[in-house]
């Protein structure tokens, strides 16, 4: 177990390093300097800026500067959000994304698991059909359509919540609801598939044969295995939800992490782009590790593969 965690952590660090290098390489492909957009600047000021951020050095030195900065938690300053370093920016935006992402995940699970399980327990009935069609519709309803509609209905018409911004204590509700509804469709689908497949297996027949009641069969025998496909989806999904959805944060004007992913990539803020990408990769690595451990606990046949 310990060996497994250590080896996966080392692999994860290699992945994060690779993500940093790839992001840097893509940013450097763009020929213009990050500060070309700023006008009314004398050449001396520009040169001083370039020297301060190390942009006058050859690219391997720049890369090393960034990577060693992140590795020692000595975060480089942002090029565009002056006076703040990448660590501060992420530390400020991340809680906002978490405040939306965690309720969204809970909504998705609370809606998706019961509906998916119900559909699987009554295959080919009206309930099953309805749940399946509803979840397909949810998968096909993109957040860029659902988000504005949710804002229109609950924000503008019913006036229950603010339409946009991050001022009141309940401003997380609409974005979390939008994301939760969309993700619940995926959860329901995976739950239905997982449970149906598990219920068809031999050990379920054995459990029924020895006289276990139907609830006992479902809850004690089937549920553990049936959750595995869902669990595999939840790892990356949780990382994505916690780092913010670009579209939903844009629709509801929420100051989460998502905006920094987009703006830093487009306006050439190299340290912030590298920092957010590495942060996302870190969460992915961590959640995948967690998923693998839980998976091995639920199903001894899978085991811990390094």
């Amino acid at each position: 177990m310990l060996n497994f965690i250590i080896s996966r952590t080392l692999q994860g660090l290699a992945v994060i390093l690779a993500v940093l290098v790839i992001t840097f390489g893509l940013l450097k492909l763009s020929p213009s300097s990050p500060f070309n957009g700023e006008r009314n600047v004398t050449p001396e000021v520009r040169a001083a800026q370039n020297a301060y951020y190390g942009l006058d050095k050859p690219w391997p030195v720049q890369l090393w500067r960034h990577v060693s900065g992140f590795a020692t938690f000595n975060y480089p300053p942002s090029y565009k959000l002056k006076g703040r370093n990448v660590g501060e920016i992420i530390a400020q935006a991340f809680p906002v994304s978490v405040a939306i992402g965690v309720p969204a995940l809970l909504i998705a699970l609370a809606l998706g698991i019961p509906f998916g399980a119900m559909a699987a327990l009554k295959p080919n009935t009206l309930e099953d059909r309805t749940a399946t069609i509803a979840s397909t519709l949810g998968i096909c309803m993109p957040s860029l359509v659902l988000g504005p509609l949710v804002a229109l209905i609950f924000g503008l018409k019913l006036k229950w919540f603010n339409v946009s911004g991050w001022f009141d204590a309940d401003d997380w509700v609409l974005p979390a609801m939008t994301l939760g509804l969309i993700y619940s469709a995926y959860v329901a689908r995976l739950m239905r598939g997982g449970l149906r497949e598990t219920l068809a297996q031999d050990f379920i027949r054995t459990a029924r044969a020895k006289g276990a009641s139907e609830p006992a069969v479902v809850f004690c025998h089937a549920l553990k295995l049936a959750c595995l496909p869902l669990l595999n989806f939840l790892g990356p999904a949780a990382a994505g939800l916690l780092t913010g959805s670009f579209v939903v944060e844009n629709v509801f004007q929420v100051p989460g992490l998502g905006q920094h992913f987009v703006s830093s990539a487009t306006n050439g803020d190299h340290p912030l782009a590298m920092g957010t990408a590495a942060f996302y990769a870190m969460l992915i690595v961590a959640f995948n590790l967690l998923v693998d451990i839980v998976q091995a606990m639920l199903n001894p046949r899978i085991g811990l593969k390094t």
Partner: protein, 314 residues
Amino acid sequence: MNPPANNSRISESPWQAAWRRLRRNRFAIGGATFIVVLMLVCWIAPGYSAYGQSQQDLNLQASPPSAAHWMGTDSLGRDIATRVLYGGRMSLLIGLAATAVALIIGVIFGGISGWIGGRLDAFLMRIVDVLYAFPFVVFVILLNVAVGEVVKNWIATSSGLSVKAANEWRSQAELLILFVAIGAVEWLTMARVVRGQVLALKKLEFITAARSCGARTPMILSRHLLPNVLGPVIIYASLTVPGVMLLEATLSFLGLGIQPPAASWGTLIADGAKEIESSPWMLIFPGTFFTCTLLALNFLGDGLRDALDPKSLQ
């Protein structure tokens, strides 16, 4: 998919059996019909529309649906029905073209990885793992921005085109870069699918049999391996199209994809989202078309999976 010599029905090829199963699936056939009709309408109807894509009627700015403008007009007085059709062309085109890019990269990458195996396989799959840990929207944006600037600079400085021609080429190039950038992100799962399939197939007896009969590698790849990989590839490709269209819409929504005056469903939805309070029809019509198209594509993809891979039905 089973190897060709399967023991199912009398003289029915696996493809005929798949077609028979697909025809029985009402959702899949409905989805396919919807897509075909939509494509025909998007390519033919704008020619008969009374309005152009960018034609403005400033007397009717942001007017609700009416007899003259079936889906209303947008805040610049343009006919939304016409724009939805032109936008549909763009969205469908990107969906198909970017899927083709993803398909080519994924099949070649996964094929090489699975066929050669060993260390190369381990190395190539590590690359895929790393790219999976990448925030994919960021990856598309970076690719789009970086490659876009390189290409635009090249067009402006060293291609020797006149300014007007260069401008025209630039918008074509932007579109092409978008296809490639989206395709370059969406190939990962395709590569895994193909690799897994090739890895399993190459150990089977019929490959050994073909080899012992003297078949060379190109022959084995094209006649024996490819037909067996085709099923999963078709299934996955049909499920990639909606994913690609969603990614394009997301990028366009964020202002990074299709640039005006061109329009796609993503840009129309973005325009509508800004005016959601005063003129909800600006979002509802393109949004409905987009959602229905994704739904139809998903039904078709699920139907193809059930038809081509009967095992998934239990």
